[in-house]
Symmetry: C2
Subunit: 97 residues, 2 copies
DNA sequence: TTAGGATATTAGATAATTCTAATATGAAGG
DNA sequence: CCTTCATATTAGAATTATCTAATATCCTAA
């Protein structure tokens, strides 16, 4: 795999962008396609401001991207690998490894 | 996928356990089998105390496990999924998504 | 042009991580 | 017993993440 210092930092940055329960749920809600912010808020059930901050953070890290259509902003998953990561980690609620 | 609040928290906990460059490198160094602490330290090139703290932290979260043989403690990957996560995230140094 | 809905930004408080340096423990040989 | 090598633990400082609440922006219809 050859994980030199800077690739490790890069990978860690992406993983940090995922490592929050609300952010994971946001990603899950976007698996089947883009959604506008208010729909994301409904899906994850959080406050507007916090959700917006999480969205912004993930966009910064390249995990999500967005486009505006009229007054709404639609977010979608840009780094599709995170879906694999999510599925891989979530298959393990009750298993031991 | 059905990511309820508590599964999301669980998944986030594991991802947090991975989301650090040194910890990723520790995991990489353990892919091909268990290693004692001093060999891990050599492999990742960090300080003894910090490496020990990271090892301990990942053991706490169930990512690693260890056994003592004489004066040495051997760590190994307990949650093999993290290898998939690592490979999946690391394949993307230069790709755009 | 202004009002309202949709989203973003900000500042500051609180909490969690990470690092540092020092000290502690544990095993084994002499 | 002591010493030494291997590892763990600790306390506190420094950094970074998160939440809160308030305010700002952006778009569109009237």
């Amino acid at each position: 795999m050859r994980l030199d210092k800077s690739s490790a930092e890069n990978a860690a940055r992406i993983l940090k962008a995922l490592a929050h329960p609300v952010r994971l749920r946001i990603i899950e809600s976007l698996i089947d396609g883009e959604k506008c912010v208010s729909d994301i808020i409904k899906a994850v059930g959080g406050k507007q401001s916090i959700t917006s901050q999480h969205l912004n953070m993930m966009r910064d890290k390249g995990v999500l991207s967005c486009r505006r259509i009229g007054p709404m902003v639609y977010y979608r998953i840009e780094k599709r690998d995170v879906i694999t990561v999510l599925k891989c980690i979530c298959g393990h609620k009750n298993r031991h490894n």
